[in-house]
Amino acid sequence: MSGLAVNEVKKSYGPVEAVKSVTFTLEQGQLMCLLGPSGCGKTTTLRMIAGLEFPDSGDILLGDRRLNALEPRERRIGMVFQGLALYPHMTALQNIGYPLKVRRMAQAEIATRVNAIASTLGIAHLLARRPSQLSGGEQQRVALARALVQEPELFLLDEPLSALDAKVRTVMREEIRNVQKRLNITTVLVSHDQLDALSMADMIAVMKDGQVQQLGSPHDIYYQPANTFVAQFIGEPTMNLLDGELGSTGHLTFLGHTISVGAARSQSEPVVVGLRPQDFVALRHPTHELLEFEGKIVSTQPQGPDIVMRILLRDNTLVVLLPWTHPWSEGDTIRLGFPSVHMHLFNRYSGERLPESPNALREEG
């Protein structure tokens, strides 16, 4: 049983720095999600952990073993690939048993272990079938079983859900998380889908351009994004970013409002204000507790219980998500309120989160 430590791992392909420097540690039994857009280096990082690529520098430690120079087969890992990589000429039974067979385990032992893991994943009745005779979700389970049958010290998942349709995805997220917890296995998951990360991970590393942008719990990442990239990458619809000015008196000015957000400072600073679409409320009457905005509805997009609208407001377009309690339509004027504790403040040039950001968590806690 062991945790994983990745220390300043770098990888370049010619002039392209795929992974600039990635560092994180993961405790035994935790699930880490490497989250980011395509080309951010998350898959390369995972492949280095698996031994399918070798880092130019840095260290990868599993427990007290240094993995860097080990061949994949010597690392004691189980991996689920993006395309699942089930062997088309083998039955589910042979697929799942392959890691044991190739390590020369006795037939009887293989059968016992395969049946155990297959029952855990609910596919014991499908073992005689070939991959082409299985549904997407079933193939997924076979791939999981094959990765877990050897009781690896580390479990790696490369976009394991990308081939599944939405319903099955939701089921498999829960399933993977349950199995991972039950086996108490240290896990690294790669995904570009924030829902995968938020719903499954203990820790998320948001990556961009070969670097970790933020490392933290799903809650931290969502409520205290470290910079504008993370702020906009996490959350659906995307967070609104508006230009504002943080004055030397500690007052923030944006969209016609001036509010106090902190202590006085040496000089004023241009900032970006982040407002999540979900944090808006529709107002019938003026109130003094909330920041108020009045704008014109440009477009509406009902989503069942909720509605997403674009609001034109002083040359800015805001996206808001509200409970669909009123038959709003394009051209209507709408009065919105926003609790200032939910604002996020970022430096306009670096994009980094400012310490003056109100902390909604602390105030509500």
Binding site: L52, M79, Q150
Partner: protein, 277 residues
Amino acid sequence: MKRIPAWQRLLNLVLVGIALLFFLFPVYWMINTALKPPNEWLTNPPIFFPHHIYLTNFSQALIHWGGLKGLWDSLVVSVGATALSLVAGVLGAYAIARYNVGGNNFSFFVLSVLFFPPVVVSIPMFQFWRSVNLIDTFPAMVVQYSSFTVPFVTWILKGFFEDLAIELEESAMVNGATRWQAFWDVALPSVKGSVVATALLAFIFSWNAFTFAVILSQGHITTLPYILPTLMEGHYVLWGDIAAIATLAVVPIVVLAFVLQRYLVRGLSFGTIRESL
């Protein structure tokens, strides 16, 4: 489904019929001639159906003209060349596809070997085999035939290996396999159909090889393509005997193609091996 009009279907049938006639008539005429006595080979008007089955051509061909030995020699050389091409070609194709062996132009060089006609290398090869004292032996024939079938097999299978998702082998290696085991357990079985189909084509090339047979044989090893022209004497051509040998030569290929037909269609239709990925 769109319904195809009757006249179009009729046209299809007629065109297919013409094509079939074009390709099958010589086969029919070969068998027809093989079953006729000498005085019926070249008549005017031609005899389209033998009056009675005349099997002497076959016994003549098999015994007197060495058809039986020809079959055996052809079989040994073709099986040998096919086996050698498979071993070298499969490994070569995998090496090129996965490890880019020889750089980017090497695979084209392999292909280019197929471009020049056998006759170009005939004289030097003849000199070579004679100088090493192997002229007119099975090893020389097998190696010489392979000079054509190895590049062929390599080139075709390289494409199939490249089409195979590399994830399959990577997953095998993560699961505990060495590179060789990943190839042997996973990559090779995944392209099995294509390997069988390619092997059959290599076998057919070897079976039909004429130039190399004539160059390398001095009458000791006599493959069927070598025997056939010996039956065309200066003043008289033994059409019935030739037809009988030709008919016998076709049989093994037809049998093989029939046995392997399920691989032929699937194995040579590119892109189908990804189905379960």
